[in-house]
Structure formats: structure tokens, C-alpha cells
Symmetry: D2
Subunit: 276 residues, 4 copies
């Protein structure tokens, strides 16, 4: 195996990691397969979730994404359906067979969320929440760790190390856009981070072009660029009716757009000796 840079002072479990992670019996990440996780920003209703879940499945997604607990800048914004949202995710999982990824916000909700989630997602705002990371290191479900929007690559890997050190070695890194001087887009998707994180660790690295740009018309181009840069997967917001979304509708693809994107990505992957 290629030698990786060891950037932490005392250890670097990220570098020693095995690389490939098993999500369920059929789905793995970190090999030739580029994993596509798709679904709405927030679980809003049974109708919305089921329509979107069926849509992304038939288009070729491997996992269903959807937020039950939503971290919002303002306490007055919609905070998610919480337990009710988890129940709907479980139902969508039972019907479609797709494994589910959803966000965890509190040390005290890990057990609850892990009942339904196949991957627990740590959001950009909690990348430095070391108390949460330590607890997530003690469960045996894969963790998707989003990069803090102003975190360095080294800080991101150090946060992964908090999880790995407690015994959970199934950590997936996710680049989701950084905050820069320009606010024409919501965030600046940083594809250099994919190349850097892969050269410094053996962890799989996925990209979220939806949050990374904040605008659905930029998502296809940046999803293709992410795959060309070497990403192991994509986290894409898809909504059965983006105009009606309670949260982040402007960055969600509709199902037809998602289907077109998957088609393009399949052709692209073949040239790169990978598959979707």
C-alpha cells in the first residue's frame, strides 16, 4: 500500500485504516464502486419521503439520505420531525431496501438514531464536538464525518481520530464546502480536500455538492468534478418537489434531474476505471 503522510503528532489511525467499509450485506464503500447517497435535506412527511425514496432508488442510488434532527442556525427555524422522522426513514428503508444515512446531533440520541440509521452523519457544525465524536467511537455503525466549514484538513483527520481511537474504525470523510471570502455561492466546494484527504489517510472520502454549492444548477457539474477528482461517493439532495421543500429546496435536484446526473456519472466512472 502507498505510503501516506502521518500528520498527527502521536498516532494516525486514519492512515492505518483498512480503507473499505461495509454498510450492509450488499453495500460497501472505499473500493471501485462510487457510492451514491440521495434523498431530501429533511424528512418532511410520509408522502414526500416515500416518493423521493422510490425515485432515487429507481434512478440508481445506493443509500437514502434524510434528516430527522436538523441543526439550524436559528432556534426559530424548522428543527426536523425528530422521532417521527426516524420512523418514516425506517418505513422507507423497509419498503425500498435502501440503507439509510441520517444526522446525529446529541450524545443522548445516539442509541435512538442508531436503531434506524445504517450510517450516522456528523454535520459540519459538530466536527469539533469531541464529546459526541468519542461516543460515536463506541458504537459499531459507520460514521460519516463532514468537514467543518472552516476546518483544516489536519483538524478534520484529527476529529476522525477521536472516533477511531475509541474503537470504531468505520469512518467515512465528507467534503461539503468551506466558507471563504466569496459568498456568491452558499459555500465553496473544495475538491482539493478530496485529493489531500486521500493522500493522507486510507479513509473513504465522499463529496456533498448540494451543500457544497447551495444551488441545484451547480450540482451536476460539481458532482462530475468530484468523481473526476477521485471521490469514493456522493451525497446528493433530491426532493420529489424541490419548490415545496421546507429546507434547502434551492439546492435539491428533482428526480428527473437526478436520473440524468446518474446517467452522466456512469459514463464518467467507466473512463476512470470505477463504477456506479
Amino acid at each position: 500500500m502507498e505510503k501516506k503522510a502521518n500528520l498527527l503528532e502521536d498516532s494516525n489511525l486514519c492512515v492505518k485504516n483498512k480503507g473499505e467499509i461495509k454498510i450492509n450485506e450488499k453495500v460497501r464503500i472505499g473500493g471501485d464502486q462510487i457510492l451514491v447517497m440521495a434523498g431530501p435535506c429533511a424528512v418532511e412527511s410520509e408522502e414526500q419521503l416515500m416518493a423521493t425514496a422510490e425515485g432515487v432508488k429507481s434512478s440508481g442510488a445506493h443509500l437514502l439520505r434524510g434528516g430527522a434532527f436538523k441543526p439550524r442556525t436559528s432556534p426559530y427555524s424548522f428543527q426536523g420531525l425528530k422521532k417521527e422522522g426516524l420512523k418514516l426513514l425506517q418505513k422507507a428503508k423497509d419498503i425500498t431496501g435502501l440503507p439509510v444515512i441520517t444526522e446525529i446531533l446529541s450524545e443522548n440520541e445516539i442509541e435512538l438514531v442508531a436503531e434506524t440509521a445504517d450510517i450516522l452523519q456528523v454535520g459540519t457544525r459538530n466536527m469539533h464536538n469531541f464529546a459526541l465524536l468519542r461516543e460515536l467511537g463506541r458504537i459499531n455503525k459507520p460514521i460519516l464525518l463532514k468537514r467543518g466549514f472552516a476546518a483544516t484538513i489536519k483538524e478534520w483527520l484529527s476529529s476522525a481520530e477521536y472516533i477511531l481511537q475509541e474503537g470504531n474504525t468505520d469512518v467515512i470523510l465528507c467534503e461539503r464546502g468551506i466558507r471563504t471570502h466569496d459568498n456568491y455561492l452558499r459555500n465553496t466546494l473544495d475538491l482539493n480536500a478530496v485529493v489531500a484527504a486521500k493522500s493522507m489517510s486510507n479513509l473513504p472520502v465522499v463529496v456533498d455538492p448540494s451543500h457544497g454549492t447551495g444551488d441545484s444548477k451547480y450540482v451536476p457539474a460539481m458532482a462530475k468534478a468530484a468523481v473526476a477528482s477521485g471521490a469514493d461517493g456522493l451525497l446528493i439532495e433530491v426532493h420529489n418537489s424541490p419548490n415545496m421543500a421546507l429546507c434547502d429546496g434551492s439546492q435539491s435536484l428533482d428526480i428527473e434531474q437526478f436520473e440524468g446526473l446518474i446517467c452522466d456519472l456512469k459514463a464518467l466512472s467507466r473512463v476512470l476505471d470505477r463504477k456506479i
Copy 2:
């Protein structure tokens, strides 16, 4: 009272706040008094803490600061003395009579920390940890909320709102340096944030020039600038022997330097119609 800008969509408890906050029977913040909180980055030993506590008290500090639980980028760095550190802080408080401020890292340690702390400090990395903020809104101790190192002013006040909304109205804001393109200093202390936060809310605003610059030789000039910009208090790292510090020694003043700074700040405060 001067009209404040209401920057949040739905409410703005920050704007409606009463302004002055009582720490204990003798100590208040938000009025004419500029509050000085001083002590070591981390509680390291009984000898270190007692020597520093006595030193900062006799120099004129109003509160003792000191970390028992330390948030560190790497899991392999010193993480604090934890419960043992809290016991030492309690002892220093009993001996000197100084109220104590210390950091809270986990929802599950609030009760423990609040037994000793007169102010609970939320660090820059937890400003977006909404689960923690909500729990802190349910206790009746003042909370010092540091600005996230890449948070906007609006996001900072929105995080304060999470605490206020739950019923705890005693929130102190703390500017501690932001992350910019230049890394000559550890952080870029942003005094514009003092003026902005005070124009947009009635919450007291204090400044941490020690983390804000990361270099003890910049601390006196920036502490004076903070007071001149209108800050309601200062959070300053002081160590009885900075060269021996386990954490952030290069940004700590020794007791003699701290005493000299307090003397300068007293003269400065008088010209600004305030007192230390």
C-alpha cells in the same frame, strides 16, 4: 434604551436582554465595571493553580479562569484534569473568594461543572453545538459564549438565542479571534465584533486577547485596544510560570506582566468613563 438592529427572522431575545448580569453578590458585568477574568489555560496542579489564583487576585482580577475539561484538536494531546481539576478550582475559589469560570464540553457534564463554576464557558468549537446550548438554557448560571472562529456575528447571536430561548437570560458574549488568510498569529482578534455585537444586542461582550493573538507579547496592546473599543470585560491567560505550562504557555502572561497590564488598563478605563 438605544434601539438595536433585529437581525434574526423570528425573534431576538439578544436585543431585548436586560444587559447587566450578576455573577455573585459582589460581581456584576454589563455596567461601568470592566470585568477581568484571569488564570491559566488549563488547571495543571494544586501548586500551579493556587499560585496563579493568589497572583491574579492581588493584581486585581475579579474572576479566576481555568480549564478542567480541555477541548483539543488531537485526541493525543493533554485533555485536562477533569473532575480533579474541578476540585482544585473549588479549593482556589474557597481560598481566594474569587468566583470561577471554566469550560463545559458535554451535555452530560453540565450538572457536575455547575457545582463549582460561577460562569460556564462554551468554547469556540462548540458555538454551533445546539444540543449543548439548549441544555445550558435550562440552568440558572451565567454562560459565556465564545464566538466560533469562523462564525458570522449573526450566527453568534443566533447561538445565544438558543440559550436565551430556553429561559436562561444570563449570556455573556466573548470574542476570541477568528481564522483568516494570515497565520502569522494563531488567530485574528476581531474587535469590530465587539462594536457590532454591542450595537445589535444588549448582551455584555468580553474579549480574550490571549487566544485572540496566541502570543503573550501581543496581549497587552490588544487588551488595551479591546477596552478602547468598548468591551465589557477581558479573559486573560495568566500562569505562575508560563514556560512550564502544559497548554498554551506562549500566550500566557506571568503575574508581573499581568499586574502591569491591570495598572495600564485602570488609567485607560478612567478616560473612557469606566472602571476596573
Copy 3:
């Protein structure tokens, strides 16, 4: 033609531009063809330039790049061969038949540089040098305008407008990396800017992954990502012997690496309905 956003208050020649630009009788940019400009950071010697020029030509480059006048942060660094460098570029152009792109630093050297250059390059540090931009608007050679390393998309297009307004409509935009909070890489190549600039103007947009990352081992992945994001061309540093380079050797490909990259890019372009 698709409607473009008009982001400037008074006019927007960038939006009204014709799109395709003729470099010489055989070479155009802005159509299906992805233009590859390759060569050393600085012209250092006849031997170095000729070896590199022949190498990039036989690998498939369409233009030769090379700096005669070098803008350096410190006045004590190598400033380029100046007039002597231009003579060598002319010789390389005569021998290989490749058109030449080189940087212009001063209003008073435009005529001199334009004798040899087929494209005049404005570097990131001069994007806001409006006196220079105005003069370049009065000549009839294409201008490649690099984005300022902290410029917004709007400021970049406004700078292009300074050139267009004077009558020179042949402006090529070049993304070359922005300065962010993370300095693991020299710059953060911002591919979102490609998508944004193309959605807001009709100007061709090219990418410089060499300066954009500052590390030759990141160049191939980011070059591929640039093409996948929709870039109309690439500006790539190639040196016949990168270890011996006087300037930026660590970000230069050698000729063999460049040849391998061109081969990968040809396969990629076909899937994207373009050609190299």
C-alpha cells in the same frame, strides 16, 4: 443563447461577449476544443525552454506558456529573464509553431510583450490593476485574466469589463486558486468559479491547477476535475527537469507525467462531448 445573469450595475459586456476567441489561424478557444497551454513557470535558459517546448508539443499541448517577467512577493527573488526571456519565447515559437502565452506586469511593457505573445496574461496580483487593464483593452491581442486570489466572481468579471469596455473583446478568464483558511496546499483551486463564471458570462474560462494546488502530485486529479466541471482549457506548468527549476518546481509536471495526463484527459473529454 442561454440567458446569463447580469451582475454589474451599468453594463455587462462579459455577458454579451461572442464566446469563441481566435488565438491564431489554427487555434481557437471557447468551442468544443479544450485548449491546453503548457510550459515552465519561468523561462530560465535556451536549453530548458526548447526541451520543454518540444516536449509539450509532442504530448499534444496547443500553446506554450512561460514567464519572462515574473511577479515575486520579495524583491530579492528571481525576477525573470525579461527581454532575454521574450527572445527565447520567440525562438521556441518559431521552432515549434506553438503560439505563446506570457505575463505582462507593467503598462509600459505592453508593446514589447505583445511583439512575441499571442496571449498576454494578467496575473492574480494585477487583477485589480485597473490602469494596466485599461491599456490592455486598447490592443488587439487576447488577454488571459487570472482571478485575484481573494477576488469575488463579481470583481473578476468587473475587471474583465475594464478590458472589454476599451474595445478588446478577446478576454479569457482563468481560475488559479484562492486563498482560504487552510494552507495545507499553496492555494485552494476553486472549480465552483468555473461553473459560476460560465453561468454569468460568455467568456471562455480556463483553469490553472499548477498554481491552484502548488503541488505536482495534485495536478492530474484537479486537471481532470476542472475538465469535468466544464473548463474550456488548462494552463499547466511543465518543466523538462522540475527538480532544477528556479521557480515553482514543486508544482511542475515533468514531460512524461504531462503526456500521461493528456492521454487521460482525451478519454475524459470524449465522454463530455468535447475534444483535446
Copy 4:
């Protein structure tokens, strides 16, 4: 003299500089005196300039500032009165006796501007315009070099070195706000840069709180903070009628506000062992 850090590889004329600079027979900068330069952003008309010049003089300013050539992001914005503006500045200088500072934008206008200007100002957008800096190193008038809005301290001093190296040793540094992630204010005035630049060089350092904040209601607090941090002078926008200004009115003080600020700064300076 205190030892300064030598941060440039090959030389550091900034460190070896003599420190105090003579503007004219009566005015010097770099000693105990804090120099106040005040006036409008742009020279707009004889009436505006004379009223403002008289106002700032009687309030205690030492120099008159005012732009004749204006660098604007868009070519469609007001570009200044140019030669006519210089004539008005000369007239204001003759009448009030105040020396004049004004901006230089082009290598080819140095001689013209130097006829009237006592200090030539290089704006933030030209800090990296090395061709201009070299030419300014060959005249014998003081140069005020604004920090690039995304320049590091080291790059700022390296740009000063370009001027010093050519023989002109009268360089004044000016901090005017940097670009960060937060755009609540136009810029983020970085007072750490004052302390850093003074610790690394012997050049005088002044602060522009008007551009640095972009909002006149923040100017007094940040001007006081600048002086408390150790600045050798202030560059303040004052307009006889800010609401009518063609450029940057929202950041201009009126004459009464300026007079009040000078009064506060005098009291503050005394405590800091300096004078205005």
C-alpha cells in the same frame, strides 16, 4: 533600539529603517505625535473640498486626504475628477496650509500626482503592483502603503521592501481592513496587524478605520482602539455632508463627529504617553 524579527529571506530594509519620517517642515510621523489625516474619500467639487478641508483643519487634523484618481471595482462607477481633482487639492493646500495625501494608480501619473501630493498613497488593490512600487521607490516623497485586503503581514512588508530597495526610505504602512468570512461589515479592521508590523519593522503604521469598517458609526470606537493598540496615525474619511457624497458616504464622519472624536483621542493619547 529593540531587535526586530527579520522575516524576509535576503534583506529587510523595513527592519533597518530609521522610523521617523518628515512630511514637511512642521509635520513628522513615527514619534510621539499621532498623525491625523482626514478628508473626503473623493474630491467632488471645490465647495465640498474647501468646506471639508477647513473643517478638519480647525478640528485638529494634520493632513488633508482626498482622492483625485479613484480605483473602482466597476468601470461604470465614478472614477474621480483626476487632474481637476489635483488642482482642487493644491488650492485647498494653499489655503489651509495642510499637507495633502492622495492616491496614485498608474506608473505614468507619478510625476503629475507628486507635484501636489505630500504623501502618495498606494491603495489596497495595488499593494502587489510591483511595477508601480518600483517607480515609487525612485522619487523622494513619502509613500503610504495600504495593506492588500488579503495580504499577509509578510507580503505587506515585502511590498514595502520593493520601494525601500530602490532608495526611497520614507514608507508608512497603513492597515485598512481585511476580507474575511463575515460580511456584516465591509471589511474586518485588523488591529493585530498594527502590533505585528511594528514588532517586525521600524516603519510607522497608521490605521484607516473608515474603510476598515465601512460604517461611520463604528469609526470612533475603532479609531480609539487603533490608538490604544499603538498606531502612529489615523486616516479618516470626513465629508462636509456625508449624505451627499458620491463615494463611500456611509463611512464618512461629518465635521462635528470628527471634532468630537479628536477630542476623545486627545484624552486617550495622554494616558498612552503620546499626543495628537
